[in-house]
Symmetry: C2
Subunit: 299 residues, 2 copies
């Protein structure tokens, strides 16, 4: 097996995702310009592209078609960005900065920021309906769309996680609520990134199952590390104010279990994720390295 | 041809739509309860159900399957409700009342209202992916989904109309901007209600074309009448503060052309809509009466 350079891999994949996002989004010059400017402002704000990169890696691992996978990958990033724009609003987390830049509503106003989020969600679904493949491929597209709707919805999806996150702020929270927030708010979309990509690629049931487990565990590990970084990271590394979760008494893993136990939990989850995709053999190298990267990342 | 009682028809269809909305929405008791309560609060706030009723009528006119049509009908109402919840937010139109009740954010807070809107959009798409019909029917579902994404999006869809509505508030506006707001913010979803329903029903191209024209013209007439009612209606009839558009210097038809000319424009549009579906003959009776009702309604 050739050696795998995760740094170079991330850079290449990020550039691929970015150029396709640019292709799939309406141009800034299209009327009404302000909404397309706002959407692009937040999409091109320096995101790590973890979800689309996981989707592309999952597709490649099971022999999926790139032109199809890259549309799903970009739709995932549009959905992720919509959730961030709305999360940052004054009525939600009230963040002025993200990734070192002013948040969408600070630049464009709250009304346009709300609409930019909505526009990204609508555009993501439109992109998914336009995945190439002919009439016979439509049933697979419907399955992918259904999986994504569930992943972002109010029944254990991203929105459900945002709700519990919002209503537990500043209040005592239980281990069950914490687990619900993590698995819904972050876990569900990362799980869907891997799982829906495998469906789109036409993966066999056995691979679907193990990739779903992989996605679930990586998603949880990702959120735990995020919470730890919020406690320990610097403003330069994070691009936002560190320690904000604690000030706002948010339900986080390190607040509940402490940093040491949280890091151990993340490490275990990553190990379990990697074990789950043993069946992929050499084809799973990128997914394995991505899982490892998630647990050691500093931003 | 038997006589057609539009009042009784509307009442029956509204009850049908309401009972299916109740069936398709997550129950209030489902965790996290507050989001499902907020979604249901706004969905069951006494809406006229114009879009779902038009969708059911269009489906019936071309011999569509009821079980399929009613899911699309309910998805349209969920999408419409999501756009109203977000429209009422302080950052948008800042309305405390709608249909005689407090708006969603006044009861549940802004954060939950934003998320309830998002949840309704996600749930609408999920409902569409779950329209019954087997694998062979998937291509039709994808076509319907694509049509709806375009109808709500930032490129001449509902969101685009909301954007132009927002940025023209309190400023001089042109006839072109007014036309854009009307055809996008309201017209696009009403057009899609008729057009997507016809696609779902498997209507022939000739019927698709004439139903699309019908939907477009009815949609524009509906918005013009809405603007006139905002000027002339009473608080009891409207369930909200009348004259608000004028106070906020919103881009409306009567503000630009005067009430008399606006009413003439709406009447012409309804006449053109009715002429467009001549091809349907007796099967078009419900659609014709719905178009007439839209132009004479007082609420």
């Amino acid at each position: 097996m050739a050696s795998f350079e995760i740094g170079a891999y991330l850079e290449t994949q990020r550039a691929t995702v970015d150029s396709h996002l640019d292709e799939f989004l309406p141009p800034e010059e299209e009327y009404p310009e302000v909404i397309h400017r706002a959407m692009r402002y937040s999409v091109f704000a320096g995101g790590k592209r973890i979800r689309p990169i996981l989707a592309l890696a999952a597709s490649e691992a099971v022999g999926g078609d790139f032109e199809r996978a890259v549309r799903l990958a970009c739709a995932l990033e549009l959905i992720h960005t919509y959730s961030l724009i709305h999360d940052d609003l004054p009525a939600m987390d009230d963040d002025d900065h993200r990734r070192g830049r002013l948040t969408c509503h600070k630049v464009f106003g709250e009304g346009i920021a709300i609409l930019a989020g909505n526009g990204l969600m609508a555009h993501a679904f439109q992109l998914l309906t336009e995945i190439p493949g002919g009439v016979d491929f439509s049933a697979t597209k419907i399955e992918v769309l259904n999986g994504l709707c569930r992943a972002i919805g109010t029944q254990r999806g991203v929105i459900a996680g945002q709700v519990v996150d919002l209503v537990t702020q500043g209040k005592p929270f239980s281990a069950k609520e914490l687990e619900y927030i993590h698995s819904s708010k972050t876990g569900a979309l990362i799980e869907a990134s891997v799982f829906c990509s495998a469906i789109l690629a036409g993966a066999e049931d056995g691979y679907l199952r193990c990739l779903r487990t992989f996605g679930l565990k990586v998603g949880l590990a990702f959120q735990i590390i995020d919470d730890i970084l919020d406690m320990e990271g610097s403003r330069e590394e994070l691009g936002k104010t560190p320690g904000k979760d604690m000030v706002e008494q948010k339900a986080t893993y390190p607040a509940f279990y402490g940093v040491q136990k949280s890091r151990e939990a993340a490490d275990s989850l990553v190990a379990e994720a990697i074990a789950a995709i043993e069946c992929l053999g050499d084809k799973g190298v990128a997914l394995r390295e991505l899982a490892r990267f998630i647990s050691i990342r500093r931003f």
